[in-house]
Subunit: 285 residues, 2 copies
């Protein structure tokens, strides 16, 4: 999948929504337990009922691994299901992997060869070696942990370097532009860090940013779009997990998830429409 | 498993050796392909033939994930096999996981509940939240990526902070002492960074350090022991993977692996013996 494929999908669907698939066995509807693979069934129903409202799905590997090899089997099944039935969807493995070269090659094989993911989230602490094997795959993206939204993001990411006075997260954004291009690298930026987006856009004017943390963690959609959109209409992939997938836990959960996704999509469409009008005005004068 | 259990094992076996299980399908002996689960068979034979020469085994998750759910099943099988047959062994999941709180809980469940690992390697880039759920398990260890041995370790770990003039890796060592104790936290230190071990021992005088990178990556065993041993006789877990497990690829691979492990063990025993004599002399005067 290419940068312009994702851009095109945003234009057609008028949304930036990515739905995070974090199937927590304690939260999924009880009636699914009668199926052979409740984890897969849960994800499948969410995907089938929301795929036209989202540009991306993002299974979080931890929630599958927590069930051992059977969970991993569910992960493989849902990844294949999504790419076969909805090939336009940008499929992200939220795996936060990050290891030295010869190990990274194996992770790349796992997610880009044995499973049909278009992208994987990567932890860049160990530097360039971590990323290199993933970038050898055409049409795939590495999504670097740029600046996370959790409280302890301050422990390391917001430390300032002596020599350059740059923050660690700034260095990560910069390294990404050295290691690859906007055609194979994206960044995670937590929505609670929206106030840093202007600074980030100076470093990476065109790269897509994957934004978790809106709503649940207190980030604001308007603020994120205001500072983060490229050319006022793309460049952001906005993740929502729990507020959509656990909105209801009865047999109607997939319908309610659709309602929530639609609500969110409408909010985004409105912002994109307003931004478009602003752009038109700017062009006119 | 406790700090003193590991110390005791070192005293009894007179070694610091950890054998890394990185089962690369392109390197394992061809005759194993006739078995149902060549990955498991390979690891099992290595373990059976070397368990008395090592204090620890360290399966690297990437090499299992590269084979999808079947690989994950092999990982589960080898982890259970080791803990059932050789309960004294310190069993490390080299998984380099690292995510925010609610996701980290799931990883902890995967490795500490569904599988019987005693420890897991953790990437601390996202700060304390990553580690917290793992530390809730009694008798388990988090092994923080302290300072890696790969060439691009310089990208982030060896950056100096403006405010405190500390290096990022130093901050990681310090954080570990705030987040936990030597009874539940260890650190990875690449052997090529042996020249930093004195500095590291000032920060963590008693914590165990897991040391990859001897031999293959150019690290020196003498140097590592010289600067890294606690009280001249423990505090280090020295990993060897490829030089032992791929020493031979015929039907005799497990015997040759044993020869290599014994060679390495003898080197370590000699160093430990010399260190002990030094200690005795020091005590005498």
């Amino acid at each position: 999948m290419t940068y312009s494929d994702i851009k095109k999908q945003i234009e057609e669907k008028k949304t930036l929504l990515c739905i995070g698939l974090d199937p927590d066995i304690e939260k999924i509807p009880k009636h699914l337990f009668s199926s052979d693979d409740p984890i897969f069934e849960f994800c499948k129903e969410i995907v089938d009922s929301t795929h036209d409202l989202a540009i991306s799905f993002k299974p979080n590997t931890a929630f599958f691994e927590a069930h051992g090899y059977k969970g991993w089997q569910s992960l493989e099944k849902i990844a294949s299901y999504i790419k076969e039935k909805y090939p336009e969807i940008f499929l992200i493995a939220d795996a936060k992997r990050g290891d030295i070269l010869h190990t990274s090659k194996m992770y790349a094989k796992a997610f880009f060869e044995n499973m049909p993911f278009d992208a994987i989230t990567i932890n860049p602490l160990l530097g360039k070696d971590v990323v290199a094997p993933f970038l050898e795959y055409e049409g795939k993206f590495v999504i670097l942990l740029g600046l996370s939204s959790n409280p302890s993001a301050y422990d390391l990411q917001l430390i300032q370097e002596l020599e350059t006075r740059e923050y660690i997260f700034e260095k990560i954004f910069k390294y990404g532009t050295w290691w690859g291009t906007e055609n194979n690298i994206m960044y995670v930026v937590g929505a609670t860090m929206a106030y840093k987006l202007q600074q980030i856009r100076n470093l990476v004017p065109n790269h897509f940013l994957l934004i978790p943390g809106i709503g649940a963690q207190g980030g604001s959609l308007e603020e994120v779009c205001n500072f983060g959109l490229v050319d006022n209409n793309y460049g952001l992939i906005i993740n929502q997990s729990r507020s959509i997938i656990y909105a209801d836990t009865t047999e109607k959960f997939a319908d309610v998830a659709r309602d929530k996704a639609l609500e969110f999509k409408n909010e985004i469409s409105k912002i994109l429409e307003e931004a478009k009008n602003k752009r038109k005005k700017r062009t006119r004068f």
